[in-house]
Amino acid sequence: MSQPTAPKGDTDTQYHNVRIRRRTMAEWCLWLLWLITLVVLAEFALTSFAEHERQAGTLASMLAFGWLLGGVIVEVMKGLELHDTADTARFDGETDTTED
């Protein structure tokens, strides 16, 4: 796949690099599963306190927070991984002549 290249003499500070990563269907499904679980746990936590069930509410809150944190960490780690392994590319509107 062709990669855009930076114009000669250009510096890093003049451009932002935007990379849109395609997620696989499996990834999208996992994130939806994560979101459903988070919503259910969060609702359970809030309504447990409303029901005066403090222990259940506390435990559910911890689970919900842990689940949220886990999702954030996974997303951040994936982002860092891609940043480390991918080539930095700049888009200058010129057709790239690099062959695949």
């Binding site: 499996a26 939806l32 599963l33 609702e43 359970f44 309504t47 029901e51 005066h52 069930e53 435990l59």
Partner: protein
């Protein structure tokens, strides 16, 4: 990597994850839409979630050939412990109850102090002062007195009418049982006050010094539940728990009086409980009316409120549509759970995995399958140790939940559909702290809903 031609591994991985996601989303969706997909009870007004299935036979067995009409004086509520102990022992136990109550009151113990005592006595004395009768107050004008014909409607219309009216009066759930040669056996032969209950082929019911007579044409038993406060009963065994029991009986009596007068106003008869828990066997009628299932508590557990209800009944000649028993996985769950039996201080409840046909004592009728309890042990504990009624078994039951959280619906749905996970559910119930006695003093600081109950069914 090209996204246009996934590998077999990627394809299978995607399929598995997509399947899990659809499963999870579907589970949540099916639970959330539970009532919309469920069957209505008779009358067509109230619809249960789809996992509460209407069935032909109750989930605990009945052998009608072995059932005989029961003398209510044999129950612990009738002549109480005096029926099953000597006169001296009975006297000792009564004194013990009074002494325990007095000691706890004088010492200002949590849940037994003056304020709890005063509130309980308020509900108790008002309830005792309320009119209660077999024939009803007989005050409301009848259609005939107003120059009108009696109400005429189809059985389904009448059932809807009555159920809506009783919900307005404060009933939580309402069901109907048709009286026939079998179900008439569930009407007490003798009521708690010693009066016989008989059936005759007559137009109007009547009562004299010896008996209460039900016309054969009064063929429908209207069974209704009144919700207790789970918030209060989780303080068992204290006066606060007793408060909600007594207060619920008060509301049940008010509903009975209102219903009797409503039926009178339509031109029909409403024959109620002349004594507390009188007329007939409440749990039996509740099971047949589809209000719940018989449980290890040897009481009915309802899908909506668990065991946190009191059950009442009255008989009418208004043509109604009968309900069916239900299967919501409750009795099946009881086989694995046993939490109530483990929590019962005098070990009055059965530890057997399966229900059986043999009553522990004469306080229970024969001819049906149950986890029969030792009621004398239970009542003795109230007298010798507590100085109040108990209710621990009600409070620890995993079905004793309020209805604010969606998670409770998810669990109820799973209990009904995947009974193999019953043990895990029971352990999770413990882990999340359900069933632990709540602080009685804290109850006085809560922003309580009316009657201490949440009237939402889910």
């Amino acid at each position: 990597m090209s996204h246009d031609n996934p590998s077999r591994r990627d394809f299978l991985k995607t399929l598995a994850v997509a399947g899990a996601t659809v499963g999870a989303a579907g589970t949540v969706g099916l639970t959330a839409g539970g009532e919309r997909l469920g069957q209505p009870m008779s009358g067509g007004i109230y619809r249960r979630p789809w996992w509460v299935r209407q069935v032909a036979q109750p989930t605990t067995g009945i052998d009608w050939t072995r059932i005989e009409r029961f003398n209510a004086e044999n129950t612990l509520l009738g002549r109480g412990l005096g029926r099953y102990t000597t006169a001296e022992e009975n006297e000792r136990l009564n004194l013990s109850y009074q002494e325990n109550e007095r000691r706890r009151l004088t010492n200002g113990e949590q849940g037994f102090s003056l304020r709890e005592n005063a509130l309980h006595n308020a509900f108790d004395s008002v309830r005792d002062g309320m009119a209660r009768s077999f024939l009803g107050p007989q005050l409301a004008p009848t259609p005939a007195e107003q120059g009108l014909e009696s109400w005429q409607g189809s059985a389904e219309e009448n059932t809807a009418l009555l159920k809506v009216a009783m919900r307005q009066m404060g009933a939580s759930t309402v069901g109907v049982v048709r009286l026939d040669d079998n179900t008439r056996k569930l009407i007490y032969s003798v009521d708690h006050d010693g009066k016989r209950i008989e059936f005759e082929d007559i137009e109007r019911a009547y009562e004299d010094d010896d008996k209460r007579v039900i016309p054969y044409r009064a063929q429908w038993v209207v069974v209704y539940t009144v919700q207790m406060s789970e918030i209060a009963l989780k303080r068992a065994p204290t006066k606060i728990a007793q408060i909600t029991t007594t207060e619920t009986y008060q509301r049940g009596l008010m509903i009975q009086n209102n219903t009797q007068e409503f039926l009178r106003g339509l031109g029909y008869q409403g024959l109620g409980e002349a004594t507390l828990n009188g007329l007939g066997i409440a749990p039996a009628f509740a099971v047949l009316a589809g209000l719940g299932e018989l449980s290890r508590l040897n009481r009915v557990i309802t899908p909506e409120y668990g065991p946190m209800v009191r059950i009442f009944k009255l008989i009418t000649d208004l043509p109604l549509e009968a309900d069916s028993p239900i299967d919501a996985g409750i009795a099946r769950f009881c086989r694995a759970c046993k939490k109530c039996a483990e929590a019962c201080p005098p070990s009055a409840l059965s530890f057997e995995t399966e229900p059986n046909w043999v009553p522990v004592g004469e306080w229970n009728n024969r001819g049906h399958e149950a986890w029969f309890e030792d009621s004398v042990r239970c009542k003795r504990y109230w007298h010798e140790e507590l100085g109040t009624n108990c209710g621990i078994c009600f409070s620890v039951c995993p079905f004793s939940k309020q209805n604010a959280s969606f998670m409770h619906d998810l669990i109820r749905m799973q209990i009904a559909t995947v009974p193999e996970l019953g043990g895990i559910v029971r352990n999770l119930d413990d882990a999340f702290g359900y069933g632990v006695q709540k602080n009685p003093n804290e109850w006085w600081t809560l922003d309580l809903p009316e009657y201490g109950i949440d009237t939402g069914k889910d």
